[in-house]
């Protein structure tokens, strides 16, 4: 009965490996052709790419489709007549939807990448120990972004707009397409302050040792700050949204 899920998981897995290899080759091309000295070594870049492939599903790609549907057809009414804090209910949904596929995919993919394709171990034990909470914060932040985007539906109803803009923005600014260390300095420095870099870029750079232990705290604090800010933003949006909400349909 669950065959289709298994096939889908396997297919996703193979795709992820394939794209990882392609991106790895592109980066190797860059390094052999460029004379400038990049911010990170080739080994680090490859590690960054494989981590990206492993945690691909942790990125806030889209609003929660079930909530999109609920707001459109008005069955959100039932969520509102239950004695639960809608924000945390939706936040937990987002967290589950991001973490379940990530957990399923990350471990086997990273094992394979480490065995065959040049994924390196964490730079040190200290880096590894800092990477864990940083990764966790990235996940919490990602869930907060998904929830905030879902909440924006109270205003736009259809969600078409954000569903198109969000992937473009996170592709570009999270480091998923081009690792942020490759970007021009000025752009990179701006992006490093924005929430998008707190999702995967910060934990990856801790893992591969580009950040020194003295830099851990400020970066992790910045992640925590953005997570908190987005949660508060979402909660405020919900409080306002519920007041102006019109439950669609008779």
């Amino acid at each position: 009965m669950l065959l289709q899920y298994r096939v889908a998981a396997l297919a996703g897995f193979v795709t992820q490996i394939f794209w990882g290899l392609v991106r790895m080759m592109v980066v190797e091309g860059f390094y052999s052709a460029s004379s400038a000295s990049p911010l990170i070594t080739l080994e680090q870049a490859v590690t960054y790419i494989w981590l990206g492939q492993g945690f691909f599903r942790m990125i806030p790609w889209t609003a929660d489709q079930e909530i999109v549907q609920k707001v459109r057809d008005g069955s959100v009414a039932y969520d509102l007549v239950r004695p639960m804090d809608l924000y945390w209910a939706w936040y937990c949904r987002a967290l589950a939807m991001l973490s379940a596929p990530t957990l399923m995919r990350a471990a086997p993919l990273l094992t394979i990448a480490w065995s065959f394709f040049g994924l390196q171990k964490p730079a040190s034990l200290a880096h590894f120990l800092a990477w864990l909470p940083s990764m966790g914060l990235g996940l919490l932040l990602s869930a907060a972004i998904v929830t905030t985007v879902s909440l924006s539906l109270f205003w736009t109803i259809s969600g078409e707009g954000v569903s198109k803009l969000l992937p473009a923005a996170v592709w570009m600014f999270s480091g998923m397409v081009v690792p942020l260390p490759f970007l021009p300095d000025r752009l990179r420095m701006i992006l490093e302050l924005l929430p998008s870099s707190s999702i995967i870029d910060t934990p990856f750079r801790i893992y591969m040792g580009q950040y020194t232990p003295e830099q851990f705290m400020p970066h992790i604090l910045l992640q925590a700050f953005w997570t908190l800010a987005l949660v508060l933003l979402g909660k405020a949006a919900l409080a306002r949204g519920v007041r102006r909400l019109v439950v669609q349909g008779g």
Binding site: A77, D85, L245
Partner: protein, 327 residues
């Protein structure tokens, strides 16, 4: 102290309009016409604990808007509303723990889960103690005859089965107040009877206050001691069903099946309103002439095969009321 008090509720929706077709769509990008729809134009009523109120009116009259405000999911533009002493939209969480809501056109059950799992989830959300939940659940299973469908995923239930499950789901936390928005919509006769039985039982035995909107006036006739009739956001009538009848038209109908097809039954105190073959329908005012007297007079003059007295269908009454209101 009434359990539910509503004073002067006003709710206006903005509906944006655009003309049909591609030009209409293009024009809509530049300037959008907005029209205000007055869903509620000052509604007031109060309901005591243990009442069973039928809330009726044509489509778009404001029935659902009222129920949504009472459930705390819609904020009115102005007016006051208090349910068990709370303003629903201001203390939503405390408020919704005390009410059960069924929106007949939607389901609150999880589409892919077996019914029983939806029930346990809802029990968790309302933090019902597991012992109490089990007891309520057993009552509901008995009352609504759910045993055979508990393990079926919701998507595979028929509409009648689903509605019974939804009703059970709304009652798991034993709310003292129940709002039912068209609970019998689309159901067959038997399922309607089951739903009515449960609602009546809850009201009589557990003194649950019920507000019920419906288009099926048999529901009203079978259940409600009190009717609130609204149209275009205003209350046209609030009182007992009998009083509604008397207010609009006190007439009752005597239906006679005559032996002779051509005979025309006449009486000075009754009007012939319909004649179809052997069957004649006479309207009379019971305050002027009793049914027994009228029947005696008619059977004396004409050989009669069968006869019966009935109240005019409530649809007719309401149609009359709408017409008189419009003119």
């Amino acid at each position: 102290m009434p359990q539910i008090v509503v004073e002067d509720l006003v709710k206006t929706y903005r509906v944006s309009e655009r003309a049909a077709g591609i030009w209409g769509a293009l024009r809509g990008v530049i300037s959008r016409r907005e029209r205000e729809v007055h869903a509620l134009a000052g509604i007031s009523f109060s309901i005591e604990a243990g009442e069973l109120v039928g809330y009726i009116g044509p489509n778009g009259a404001g029935k659902s808007s009222t129920l949504k405000i009472l459930s705390g999911i819609l904020v009115p533009d102005s007016g006051r509303c208090s349910v068990l002493g709370r303003t629903p939209w201001e203390e939503r969480l405390a408020h919704v723990a005390q009410i059960g809501v069924v929106f007949g056109q939607r389901t609150q059950l999880w589409w892919d889960l077996p019914v029983i799992e939806s029930f346990s989830l809802i029990g968790e959300i309302y933090r019902v103690k597991s012992q109490l939940l089990q007891k309520t659940l057993n009552d509901m299973i008995e009352l609504l005859d759910l045993r055979s469908i508990l393990d079926v995923p919701v998507r595979q239930l028929s509409l009648g089965q689903r509605m019974r499950c939804d009703l059970a789901a709304a009652l798991l936390h034993s709310p003292p107040i129940l709002f039912l928005d068209e609970p019998t919509i689309g159901l067959d006769a038997q399922a309607k009877l089951a739903v009515r039985d449960v609602v009546r039982g809850l009201n009589r035995e557990r003194r649950v206050t019920v507000i019920l909107t419906t288009h099926d006036l048999d529901d009203i006739e079978a259940l409600c001691s009190r009717v609130i009739l609204i149209s275009s956001g205003k209350i046209l009538f609030d009182g007992a069903l009998d009083a509604l009848r008397t207010k609009i038209s006190p007439d009752r109908h005597l239906i006679v099946d005559l032996v002779e097809e051509n005979a025309v039954p006449e009486d000075c105190e009754a009007r012939l309103i319909h004649k179809d073959g052997h069957r004649a329908t006479l309207a009379f005012d019971p305050r002027q002439v009793s049914a027994a007297e009228l029947i005696a007079r008619i059977t004396k003059r004409h050989p009669v095969r069968d006869l019966f007295v009935e109240n005019p269908p409530i649809e007719e009454l309401i149609a009359t009321l709408y017409r008189s209101e419009a003119s």
